[in-house]
Amino acid sequence: MIRRFFTLRNIRRTYAVFFLSLFVLLLWLTNFGRMKGYETGLFLELDPLAALASFLTSWTLYKGLALSLVIVVGTLFLGRFFCSWICPMGIVNQVAGSLFSRLRAADTVQLNSWRALYNLKYYILVFFLLLAAFGSLQTGLLDPIPFITRAFAVSVFPGANYGQGWLYLKQPLFQGGTLLGLIFLAVIFANRFVPRFWCRAVCPLGALLGLFSFRPLLRIWRDVELCTDCKKCLANCHGGCDPHSALRYTECHLCMNCIEDCPENAIHYGLQGPSSSVQMPLDVSRRRLIESALAGAVLYPVMKSTISSGTTAGHQVIRPPGSIAEGDFLRRCIKCGECMKVCPTNAIQPALFEAGLEGLWTPVLISRIGYCEYNCILCSRVCPTGAITPLTVEKKLGKGPGQKPLKIGTAFYDRGRCLPWAMNIDCIVCEEVCPTSPKAIWFQDFEVQLRDGGTKVLKRPFVDPKLCIGCGICETKCPIRDKAAVRVTSIGETRSTTNQMILKS
């Protein structure tokens, strides 16, 4: 009985369930109250594509990303075990594939054998790596770990919380959350037509791991002396790697299903035996590779000659505290959404086009939704690539000797909308909530003439640009609900030498 349970397939399934649960658990833990010291970004740090691409853009292997070497070394020896055993995106797609497509035996031969389309992922990889080599990090758009982290942080978790309230005290709202959710759903739904379409045809990380498994020590192999060519090995194949003919070992996910499904015990995993069938190395079209590389090479200068936050300071591009200068930021941010998940006030949002196409889904603060909590440094703690460098509270608030508080922007009054300025109505909520000491928002008493002829003394607020840190709580709490009368823009941010306005600071 026990022996019957411990089949290779079930062992793989156990790992898959474990790693998927771990992924969800770690993301759930990415929260102020629960974080403690857990390695919440573990899956992102295990991602060799994030490590390689950010290495290419900045020539550094940042801290935890060194963990990805475990996967690289493992893949060199064992093959692409990551895809069906560890990768949450792969596991989700596998589950969806087995739910959506009930295959007849005849279909499996068609759907689970290799197709030329599956080479697409190599071209996508080359395209992204070339962009990275030039200095633009866009792998995060399709790299599965940032992709699924972002989808969960921005759409799945908030959606799961809706109406229940069991994940958050306050329902989080994200800009473009529906769009990200729909993209994720589309990827899942593609399994309806081709099982594991994403993993086989799109995933650039899968392609990279395919490259690393160019000559794995251990591999699946088929004993031609035992094989009766029944093709039952195709029934549950994850990778679409042709175990029934010349196995394409760079495509194989080591799902072990073919071993279990073979009625003749002709398929093995281990050192390739002498009676093994011939196997197929990676076979991509050189012409296509050059085309994809060329596309990247052409796109890069076009991207760089477009208005983006890298070329022109964007007033809405308020980056989380600790973010490095914008050019470097775009070279490091993989758009994973960890900072959006952890932000306690829901201020950090995925950018749409505020930072240009290059900065799509990078984190920006929308002060109307939330504000940067004065004592909070969580986003800097979870960033896996160092786009937001780790802070201490002392460093953020400039408590050390000779240190200045970190500024992420500056608040400005719209005197045409501000109640005391425009309508002679008492307010100064902004002054009440301003967290610095002394407060960056101060007021003066004005005696004003009212319409009916009477007079009134009221307090009108001002911003002291030397003290304002751009946290945006004034904008969040301003009672002018639709468009606040005090708004924060990125000017004066510490990380920029050029986005400044005051001569002496």
């Binding site: 309230g165 006030t345 909590e373 004065y374 109640l419 909520v429 000491s437 009672p479």
Partner: protein, 330 residues
């Protein structure tokens, strides 16, 4: 002339005909009834939420005990115990089986030393006293300005309450119920439902400077019961504070003046803004407690319009010297 033998079989039997007719009539009647029931001249249905009012949390007045107790000392636990003892013991306020709600000021993500929130030791001491008076449950709540979980963690109050056997209850977004405050500035306003579930309410404010209302103490602490667009209240801050004090009548008020934030309130953030006063004030009369607290901020009753407004409405007496006051050191 048709022959008798020409008779055709009817297309359906009589029984079937009757059944089908009945079914069709039934459907038609259902459609009519549906139209009749749901016909509306309004484009949307107005949901009529039940509007509740605050219960009166007060206990019967007593001439036996002092009306205002002022305790000076260093140890929060001892000071609170002495103050409650003097004013009649917790048994006077909490009956066995009561659900007691404590409302400290936990509005900000600040540490205890910065004096922006009530001292955690004081909250813990009150929780323990309530439990000793055999309260069924002791809840601690606030609707902070900063993120709630951060406020309760950083102020130390979350931990202190947990350790002393109480329970922190935070109102989620749909835990607010429309409540009629029957005030002049405040009419119907969303209020944290926890207030309507408790039998007794103990107000645990801290003395702080505030730039618009000049001070925030026992009366303004009641802001923390409200949800909704609270930031509009600043437009008539005196009227709304007086309205709140009239609508919410706590069982007991125990005011923390161990550390007083004298400038840059109500957020503070700098230890140089804080002065150590080592005092705790207990009283049943909210206005008297408030008036007493003014001394820590060098203010007078005349400076603070909402105290006058509250007194005019008969909520309490601002002339605390006319009351029976007990002052002691522990």
């Amino acid at each position: 002339m048709p022959s008798k033998n020409d008779k055709k079989e009817p297309l359906i039997s009589r029984r079937q005909f009757l059944l089908r007719t009945a079914a069709t009539c039934g459907l038609a009647a259902t459609a009519g009834a549906w139209g009749y029931v749901f016909y509306s001249k309004e484009p949307v249905r107005r949901s009529e939420a039940k509007i509740v009012t605050f219960r009166d949390y007060r206990i019967q007045e007593s001439k036996v005990f002092p009306q205002l107790v002022v305790v000076h000392g260093k140890d929060a636990e001892k000071m609170v115990r002495a103050a409650i003892e003097k004013i009649g013991g917790m048994g006077r306020f909490v009956s066995p089986g009561d659900k007691v709600l404590l409302k400290p000021n936990v509005a900000w993500d600040r540490q205890p030393e910065q004096a922006a929130n009530t001292t955690p030791g004081i909250v813990a001491a009150v929780v323990r006293l309530c439990l000793e008076a055999r309260a069924a449950e002791v809840w601690v709540t606030d609707v902070p300005v900063n993120d709630a979980s951060r406020c309760f963690a950083r102020s130390g109050i979350g931990e202190a309450v947990k350790r002393s056997g109480g329970k922190v209850r935070l109102a989620a977004e749909n835990d607010f119920v429309p409540t009629d405050l029957r005030g002049e500035a405040l009419k119907v306003w969303p209020v944290s439902a926890i207030y309507h579930q408790a039998d007794k309410l103990i107000n645990l404010p801290i003395v702080k400077h505030h730039s618009l209302s000049k001070c925030t103490m026992a009366m303004k602490n009641l802001y923390g019961s409200l949800g909704g667009q609270r930031n509009r209240l600043h437009q008539d801050i005196n009227g709304s504070i007086a309205d709140l004090a009239a609508a919410i009548r706590p069982t007991l008020t125990l005011m923390d003046a161990t550390r007083v934030l004298r400038r840059n309130g109500p957020t503070g953030g700098n230890l140089s803004d804080v002065s150590i006063e080592d005092t705790v004030i207990a009283g049943v009369d909210l206005v008297a407690v408030e008036a007493y607290g003014l001394r820590f901020l060098d203010l007078k009753v005349e400076d603070i319009p909402f105290i006058g407004l509250a007194e005019k409405r008969g909520i309490g007496l601002s002339d605390w010297r006319s009351l029976h006051v007990a002052e002691m050191n522990v």
